[in-house]
């Protein structure tokens, strides 16, 4: 685990854009296509997104889980995979994205005040 978390993450614009989506609400869970839709400053391709998610998971910044099978089945489709920032990710992502920590702290608090639970 420490070996994984210790791996350095190369700074690229698409990775920053993906992390910005997570930073909008650091406690939210999002799935792949949702990220593509929410990155509006560039045309993020599906083929670029998943290697980024893999690297962020490897770095210990993101964690993921499968959607509950029953829920997906009730919608008549296979389960999706949801991603979420880890503590390390939430702490490291702002400076990686060049966002001041004040800005994200206030968003974080708003996220909690709005009743986000995990």
């Amino acid at each position: 685990m420490s070996r994984r978390a210790g791996r350095t993450l190369k700074t690229t614009y698409p990775t920053q854009e993906v992390l910005r989506v997570f930073l909008r609400d650091p406690r939210a869970e999002v799935f792949g296509y949702e990220i593509i839709e929410q990155v509006t400053s560039m045309k993020l391709k599906s083929g670029s997104l998943y290697p980024i998610l893999q690297r962020l998971e490897d770095a210990g910044w993101l964690t993921s889980r499968w959607e509950l099978e029953e829920y997906a089945a009730s919608r008549g489709r296979p389960p999706r995979r949801y991603y979420k920032l880890t503590g390390t990710g939430a702490a490291s992502a702002p400076s990686y994205c060049g966002i001041s920590s004040d800005e994200t702290t206030s968003r974080h608090v708003v996220g909690r005040a709005a009743g986000a639970t995990s």
Partner: protein
């Protein structure tokens, strides 16, 4: 669907390097033809896949199969031959060089014998690609206007079928003759109007999805392949818009080599087998 499987199976027989190269050729063709479609509405990539599958069926070697996959990448899209040489080797570049030459001749049907002689003298592998190209074009000719259908059918029976016979590809000659006779026999008024299907047809999505699965099987590490395929299937199935589904899937296909590199690095670092909960 079967095209891709036939291509990969035929090249796999020559070892995994050959299969990997076929996959890279498919990948490049996907990238170069991305967003293009044929006159009958199919995504363009359907055509090189079909042509490669025809040459694979004829028992062609992996170089010819790769050249078939890339024939319009070089001829129509002007992808530089030097880059083909660097990425796929001298032989593939040489076949494509000859293909472009033999394909550039405008056929004068009053001088069919001369054309038959000229074309038959090109290297067999380039001629094979050309004949397979024409065969698939004849199989999908309904996308063309009536006049063009007629012209192509006459070229086919007067020049290309005889060339096929001259180079010993009799079975292709028979098919070319039958297809062109079919087109020429139909009275113009009775010929059905071309059916224009949207380029996001079910066939397109099926092709892209098959490519994704076969590509993942070739390139992704076993430990995480199923997880990613399951995740992608989940996303694809949840998309309601056909166009968006196709784009999403094709994007994954094009991104597969990079994805595979990331997944291999991850598997190496983690050294565990499966992380699906």
């Amino acid at each position: 669907m079967t095209d891709t499987a036939a291509i990969l199976a035929a090249t796999q027989r020559h070892g995994s390097l050959a299969a990997d190269r076929a996959y890279r050729a498919i990948d490049l063709a996907c990238a170069v033809h991305h967003g293009e479609h044929r006159q009958n509405g199919d995504p363009y990539i359907v055509h090189p896949l079909a042509v490669a599958s025809i040459v694979a069926e004829l028992g062609a070697d992996p170089d010819t199969i790769a050249a078939a996959l890339l024939h319009d990448v070089v001829d129509d899209a002007d992808y530089p031959l030097d880059k083909i040489r660097a990425e796929f080797g001298d032989t593939v570049a040489q076949i494509l060089h000859e293909f472009v030459q033999l394909n550039s001749a405008t056929l004068d049907l009053n001088d069919a014998d001369r054309h038959i002689n000229e074309l038959s003298r090109f290297a067999r592998r380039a001629v094979t690609v050309k004949l397979a190209d024409r065969l698939h074009n004849m199989q999908t000719i309904s996308g063309l206007t009536e006049d063009k259908q007629h012209l192509k059918a006459r070229e086919t029976c007067q020049v290309l079928a005889p060339v096929a016979r001259a180079v010993g590809l009799g079975e292709i000659a028979v098919e070319l003759d039958a297809l062109s006779a079919d087109t020429l026999r139909r009275p113009r008024s009775a010929r059905p109007a071309p059916v224009v299907r949207p380029w996001t047809s079910e066939a397109g999505l099926r092709h892209a999805r098959t490519l994704l699965h076969l590509g993942a099987r070739l390139l992704m590490p076993q430990s995480s392949r199923d997880r990613w395929l399951a995740e992608w299937d989940g996303e694809i199935n949840a998309l309601s818009d056909g166009h968006e589904r196709f784009r999403f899937t094709l994007g994954l296909v094009i991104g597969l080599p990079r994805m595979a590199a990331a997944a291999h690095r991850s598997a190496l670092a983690r050294n565990v087998t499966e992380d699906r909960p």
